[in-house]
């Protein structure tokens, strides 16, 4: 294999690939990237066996071929050269190394390689029918749903999100057992019958990093889900975890509603949360019937206290006090973009439903949060 490639566009693809590679990979080949030169491009592939990225960047291919090289080492060297005006020359040598040199310069690097055959088999879904969706809408949905995606898989916490395609909407749901996000965006999905899969969190996080707002193609094959955006293909095994029966908690009975300006609410919560101790992250929201909200934090370790006040744009119902883990509120308010949010509440023991105030037909974003017990 021998190619010439510009360092900058190569680095952009390397950055994407590097975030797939596990830092503590136990199988040596998984620390490597697969490089394959053919036609007028260099293909890069990275995998942790759960999530795989295949991407490409334009290259002048002198001799087609393939090899695997240590991902982080290649990444640091290419990064160090990305200020160079001249392209990089990459070629495999008879002693099975990858030779790297800026074209016309004297400095040279020789990197250890492993044979291409050792790399896990890459999947190609192109024969399957693709559902093409608006990438921006899908990414928006993912951003919303990642907030409550769990950090471990247990009975009621899922390290991923449920993705459902209906003919005219994309629905995603996630929960970490204390809170749940349900979002539904009007998207032409091209499916005739509803489709439901469970996608790992890492896949969703990586998908957000892929640039481009055009059409995102989604395919399913052999228990894998494939996302294709421009020249990049990201795929992963589907999760076979059971997803909790979210429908049961999605529409709690509530008898109080508050509408607040999102930014002032967020800013005051962030400020008052500075008082909280590291272990106990409680904020108590107290609404009075006149619609004044008090946000109170008391540091149990030091006795420090903080209080902020905000007047609701609208409040209906009786006075109520509810404790929350303050980050749960901040994260929701941080990911929503709308000017106003509503809180639908019942009492300090049952779930509260938060939603951005949206125009009719602009999709749904429901965020259901359980309280912190106060006594």
């Amino acid at each position: 294999m021998e190619i010439r490639v510009e360092a900058k566009p190569l680095m952009a693809e390397l950055n994407l690939a590097l975030s797939i590679v596990e830092t503590k990979a136990t199988i040596p080949i998984l620390s490597n990237l697969l490089l394959r030169a053919e036609g007028d491009f260099l293909e890069l592939a990275a995998t942790d066996l759960e999530v795989t990225l295949r991407t490409r960047c334009p290259a002048e291919v002198i001799q087609p071929g393939a090899v695997t090289v240590p991902a982080r080492k290649l990444g640091s060297i290419v990064r160090a050269f990305s200020g160079e005006e001249v392209p990089l020359s990459l070629k495999t040598t008879p002693d099975r190394k990858l030779f790297l040199q800026p074209v016309g310069k004297r400095n040279e690097y020789h990197l250890q390689t492993l044979p291409e055959e050792d790399f896990p088999t890459l999947l190609d879904p192109s024969a399957e029918a693709a559902r093409e969706m608006d990438a921006a809408a899908v990414k928006r949905c993912i951003e919303e749903v990642l907030v409550s995606s769990g950090n471990e898989d247990s009975r009621f916490s899922v390290r991923g999100a449920l993705l459902m395609l209906e003919p005219e909407s994309l629905v995603m749901v996630s929960t970490d057992s204390h809170r749940l996000t349900f979002c539904s965006h009007p998207v032409q999905t091209g499916v005739e019958a509803p489709l439901r899969v469970l996608v790992p969190k890492k896949t969703l996080v990586e998908l957000l990093k892929l640039e481009g707002d055009g059409g995102l193609k989604m395919r399913l094959k052999d228990n894998h889900v494939f996302f294709e955006l421009g020249p990049r293909l990201l795929y992963s095994r589907l999760m076979d975890t059971a997803f909790p029966a979210y429908e049961k908690v999605l529409n709690p009975a509530t008898d109080k509603v508050a509408v607040l300006g999102r930014l002032p609410f967020l800013e005051k919560l962030r400020r008052v949360s500075m008082v909280a101790d590291s272990k106990n992250r409680a904020v108590v929201l107290s609404f009075d019937p006149a619609g004044v909200l008090e946000m109170a934090v008391r540091n149990q370790e030091t006795g420090d206290e903080g209080k902020e006040y905000e007047t609701c744009e609208r409040f209906e119902g009786e006075a109520v006090n509810i404790g929350f883990t303050v980050e749960f509120l901040i994260e929701f308010l941080g990911v929503t973009k709308e000017e106003k949010v509503s809180l639908k509440m019942s009492d300090s023991e049952h779930q509260t439903l938060l939603e951005p105030v949206r125009a009719e037909g602009a999709g749904t974003h429901k965020y259901v949060v359980m309280p912190l017990r106060l006594d």
Binding site: S154, R155, L180, V249, A282, Q300, V368, L372, L374
Partner: protein, 396 residues
């Protein structure tokens, strides 16, 4: 009653039991002067809350700890009812334990407000037992800005514990080695460590009303009537109690395990032992007011290889059913074709429940009902004995 210090029998061990007086309520009264001299009740104020501590002003009204808060409100409606603030009690407790640590390296805390100290051989530093105890009380009072502690000094843990309760609050009782029997024998059997209402009734039926009555009873007759417990209380009634003061009691996990008489193979054989362990662990947690967020299953193979698997629980719990469910899920991660000689589990990542617990969105079906049922079973067993009730699906 002979009084002499340096009497005919020497102190083999000097055991101190120190018990803070109405601790939670006393901390509140210390920090909020307007509460001083008034009945104060600290406890869970919710629907199923119970009294943690009642100040001495509230006790004449019949309010005592572990009483449902609703009943306390009826008995003493003018009392000040406060939710517990464990952070503050913890801070005060730290001060108290620091003082204890100055007196002895052998301190066995029983809870936030109570500890045993082994002060054997410390006479040279602190003087005879009574002087030691006076000094301990003074230093606790000083370190906590005025909290009082009742102290019992005796040659054994049991007698020291009874002694600290003898003249509460702010009490000091020293029981010399040759006074142990004369001190114990007039006391009612209720003072015997571990004698609950059921045992007391049992003892009353046998005509045993005082500790002296127990001491004079025949040990084999007691064993026949009360089992191993009979032997235990007979020893206590004679002042025989060689249990040492144990440091490092702090429960980072609560566990139970069973070494089996015969090796067993397969899930069906392991299950009942896990269930038994879950029951024991959950009961202990409920008794101590703890909730666990993690669970570990422990198996030992016939070849003495120890295998463990652990998981996070969906929400902090003290329910045996929840522990059992999680344990059975973990069981799927073991190779169960190997013969096992020991089965056990431990609940860890313990918290004191109550305030600051993040509630869970999803719950096992009927979880609350089950929880109430488990607590009721605890009460029944406490009152009528372990065999009094059994779960219908226990299958034994």
């Amino acid at each position: 009653m002979p009084t002499g210090t340096g009497g005919p029998r020497k102190w083999l061990r000097v055991i101190v039991h120190a018990d803070m007086d109405a601790f939670y309520a006393a901390v509140e009264q210390r920090d909020r002067p307007e509460l001083r001299g008034r009945p104060v009740v600290v406890g869970g104020l919710g629907g199923r809350g119970v009294v943690s501590t009642a100040s001495y002003e509230a006790r004449p009204f019949g309010v005592h700890s572990a009483m449902p808060i609703g009943k306390a409100r009826r008995l003493c409606p003018h009392a000040i009812f406060l939710p517990p603030d464990f952070k503050r009690y913890g801070e005060a407790s730290d001060r108290v334990m620091e003082v204890f640590a100055r007196f002895s390296p052998l301190v066995e805390p029983l809870s936030l407000d109570e500890a045993f100290l082994d002060m054997t051989g410390a006479e040279g530093l602190f003087g005879p037992p009574e002087a030691m105890a006076r000094r301990l009380k003074a230093e606790v009072r000083e370190a906590t800005s005025g909290l009082t502690v009742s102290v019992g000094v005796a040659p054994t843990k049991f007698v020291a514990k009874v002694a600290s309760d003898h003249r509460k609050p702010d009490g000091l009782t020293v029981v010399e080695p040759d006074q142990v029997l004369s001190f114990l024998h007039p006391l009612p059997v209720a003072r015997l460590w571990g004698a609950g209402p059921k045992t007391q009734a049992e003892l009353a039926k046998l005509g045993l009303e005082t500790i002296g009555d127990v001491a004079r009873a025949d040990r084999s007759w007691l064993v026949k009537r009360l089992g191993a417990f009979g032997e235990h209380i007979h020893r206590l009634s004679l002042g025989q109690d060689d249990r040492p003061v144990e440091t490092e009691r702090e429960a980072k996990s609560v566990g139970a395990e069973y070494t089996l008489e015969e090796d067993i193979v397969g899930e069906a054989a392991i299950r009942p032992h896990l269930r038994r362990s879950a029951g024991r662990v959950a009961r202990r947690m409920r008794k101590e007011g703890l909730l666990a967020s993690g669970l570990r299953v422990k198996l030992k193979t016939a070849g003495f290889r120890l295998l463990t698997r652990q998981c996070r629980l969906p929400s902090p719990t003290d329910s045996e059913r929840a522990l059992e469910t999680a344990a059975l899920e973990l069981l799927g991660q073991f190779d169960l074709e190997v013969p096992m000689r020991l089965v056990g589990l431990a609940a860890f990542d313990l918290s004191a429940g109550g305030a600051g617990t993040q509630a869970a969105l999803f719950e096992e079906d009927g979880r609350e009902k089950r929880r109430t049922a488990e607590k009721t079973v605890d009460l029944l067993r406490e009152r009528f004995g372990k065999g009094a009730v059994r779960w219908a699906d226990d299958g034994e």
